[in-house]
Subunit: 478 residues, 2 copies
């Protein structure tokens, strides 16, 4: 019984969440009729009563209203949706990156400060994460491995894990073998090795704009210049702009967060990924693809990776378990294509090996079948949280606010009225016990002074109150 | 009772090992009288019967012989000691490093091949290591930390661990605070960050010669040039040669393995460490000090670190738990002196954080008091193994062989007859199921074609037979 009831629960909640999402992203407008109970029941292959349960839940959420003998409608008194930010228009010239002071001030100080309500750092939710179960797996693995668990596991790293990663990548459209993969100590390390493999100090790297400061400061640490490319909040980097940039600058590599860009939440559509790979291949420019959020999609299927369209080995796919499982385990990977031997060697010469027990515990967690259901639960949870936070922002922030509508991940990118300086807001929010990430951190050329990034992963009543408080502060500043 | 008896055992074995070591390193020559039982009993503050036990043990080992009414003497039919290698005389010009092919071929292929008897890679002995106990500690820590154990622990890393490292460094002559320390993913990462903090591509780094290929390939990966400095097998880098090199070359940094150089086993005497720090300070050249073997001393006290004599913050001390505890845990540290903020930032931009559970488990292991007795046992075990392996080499290898007499660590550096090419020997040994490390790997300028490095950590009957077999192969080649 337990199983059946949880299955039923899953179905009606899923239907409710799907409609909630359509309302949230504007596909269903206030006043629109939602599909009839009978039609929905046939379409989703569930009972009438399951659909009714879903619709009652949406009523309880204040989103829809029943009209006698007519069906269910999106409430017309819903606050209207906030528009999305426009495509970005960054500086067209390559820039020396200089983020160090800002990152040290904002991120390293705040990100793990337990006194603050964390709406800033892009950490996954530790309560949602499978940490406890993963730790138990680690204990079992440690006992089984004995002395071996203390030894080096040199690059390319744990074969069982590379096997699991290769299998998992099938759903992203890739056909990889374990030999194609190098285990690293996280996605940042993967990206750093890729950049070192294909660029020399002073070279220019084309990147999406905005992009997470992690990437910017890796460029800075390696002495590389950033060429920020206009990026759409839904479908990512502009190919037209990239083509233009390639014609006017010597570009040594291109770097994108293909699925659910941090902070935009943009997802490059599959045909556009193919076009991106082709475009770069015309000049044999390597594409460094960060797919760290790729498994956290809200739709029915995992978006593909650009690597899936790579015929020349020019795409270097980077990822890790830090957004899905446990950042503290420090396990990531890279699929470096034709640069495999160089990247493996850089891993070896930089840090020899990934942590042995972490690697083996994750491999065991995946092969035991725990990963897939865990990911399903987590995706749903993040989708709900993103929806809830979006709604709270809409309610609490000024009308001129613009807000992204991510289809995966757990981040929101918020454009505030022009008068609001995000660093001033950051200071005021911090004084009020709230951590946010100011927009200055997402461009080497200060493109986003009035933007902030919010993390919905830790959504709670406390977080909701923090959004209200933020709204008040913004109105004072704006 | 159990404790007392184990204490007694410890004392007589310790006395026997000390005398064994004096014989081995030539301080007691064949025919020499060893101290009388009564004198020894007073000197070591143990009972007469304890000293007798020690001397009977040495008789059983075939090292000493009692003469009636006269005392105990070193047996005069002992094979004479092999001489030590001379001070090295490497190429006086800076060199581009190019080790990649050789390292990939030799190290990555062999080091973890269970089919080979491992006398090559400088791995600690997994059976001696406290892996099981450490894993149990990790399990307890994981349960206590809960969700937090899965989260990022950003640079500078776990404070409890930095506290323990600061305390432990007291015995090395340092007075550090936790704020001086950055946790890394191992000593290689520490060294890599230090080099990146103070050198640019193309710069020259003065290093001891021979030095482990780990260092050479880190230089290679960063595009740095190696300036190999003559190094004595007992007391390390020649200050005269270093001074000369500094006068004739622009040196951006100096890098030494101050205590028990890999492969030499040399230990820079404390006054010489002070002089080294002063010499480099005259030109404000940073000293990168690798102390990874420092805790594995055979003598009564831990040798100091050069960092202890650093008044200007120019010494960057690097170490890890990879030779003492568990390489697979991937936890090291660096004390970067005046370069602290840069190194912390490089850690952050390169790999964000060290593995959270590993850090906390080691901190707990240290604070529980398990580390000190563990280290005592391990030091003794390695000392014995080095002594046994030296004896076996002396017996099995040709007379012209020269052999180091390390006072710590678990490595031996062997100079073979000039006709023996260590790469040919490496191939033949491998065919016979034995892994050794050829001397070519310890210089960027092929200084040591007829040298090999041996690791005594895994000493066993099997390893002893392997030394015999190696001796036969060498005689065929020589």
């Amino acid at each position: 019984m337990g199983d059946v009831s949880s299955e039923t629960t899953y179905k009606y909640e899923r239907i409710a969440d799907d409609i909630d999402h359509l309302i949230e992203c504007g596909a269903l407008q206030p006043g629109d009729r939602i599909p009839s109970v009978r039609r929905m029941s046939r379409a989703r292959e569930v009972s009438i009563s399951t659909v009714l349960q879903a619709y009652y839940l949406l009523e309880a959420r204040g989103l829809i209203r029943a009209r006698p003998r007519s069906g269910f409608y999106v409430r017309s008194d819903l606050p209207s949706n906030l528009p999305e930010p426009e495509i970005s228009t960054p500086d067209p010239d390559p820039t020396q990156v200089s983020m160090r002071e800002l990152v040290s001030m904002v991120v390293l100080k705040d990100a793990t400060n337990p006194a603050l309500i964390q709406l800033g750092a892009a950490h996954p939710n530790p309560a949602l994460a499978a940490t406890e179960k993963l730790n138990r797996t680690l204990t079992v693995v440690a006992r089984r491995m004995g002395d071996e668990s203390g030894l080096y596991d040199y690059a390319p790293g744990c074969e069982a894990l590379r096997m699991q990663i290769a299998r998992q990548s099938l759903t992203a459209g890739c056909s990889l073998s374990p030999e194609d993969i190098v285990i690293t100590s996280g996605c940042s390390e993967s990206v750093s090795f890729c950049l070192r493999a294909v660029c020399d100090r002073g070279d220019t790297v084309a990147i999406e704009s905005p992009i997470c400061f992690d990437t910017l400061q890796t460029l800075e640490a390696l002495g590389l210049r950033a060429l920020e490319i206009p990026t759409h909040p839904r479908d990512g980097i502009s190919l037209e702009a990239l083509r233009f940039a390639m014609q006017h600058n010597p570009v040594s590599a291109c770097l994108v967060i293909s699925n659910f860009n941090n902070p935009l939440g943009s997802c490059i559509p599959d045909p556009k990924k193919r076009a991106l790979v082709s475009l770069l291949a015309t000049q044999e420019i390597p594409l460094i693809e960060n797919d760290i959020f790729g498994e956290l999609y809200f739709g029915d299927a995992r978006p593909s990776v650009a690597k899936a369209y790579d015929r020349q080995g020019l795409v270097m796919l980077c990822s890790s378990f830090s957004k899905t499982l446990a950042p503290g385990y420090r396990v990531g990977w890279v699929v470096p294509g034709q640069f495999l031997s160089t990247v493996r060697w850089l891993k070896y010469t930089s840090s020899l090996a990934a942590p042995t027990l972490s690697e083996h515990a994750i491999a065991e967690f995946m092969s035991s079948g725990s990963y897939a259901p865990y990911l399903r639960r987590t995706r749903r949870a993040y989708e709900r949280r993103v929806t809830s936070m979006s709604r709270a922002v809409r309610r609490a922030f000024p009308e001129e606010t613009k807000l992204t509508r991510p289809s995966g991940g757990f981040l929101l990118w918020v454009e505030l009225p022009e008068a609001v300086d995000s660093l001033v807001l950051y200071e005021r929010a911090q004084a009020a016990g709230i951590a946010i990430t100011p927009g200055y951190l997402f461009s080497a050329t200060d493109q986003y002074p009035n933007f902030i990034r919010l993390n919905a992963a830790n959504w709670s009543d406390e977080a909701e109150a923090a959004i209200d408080r933020l709204g008040q502060i913004i109105r004072q500043l704006g």
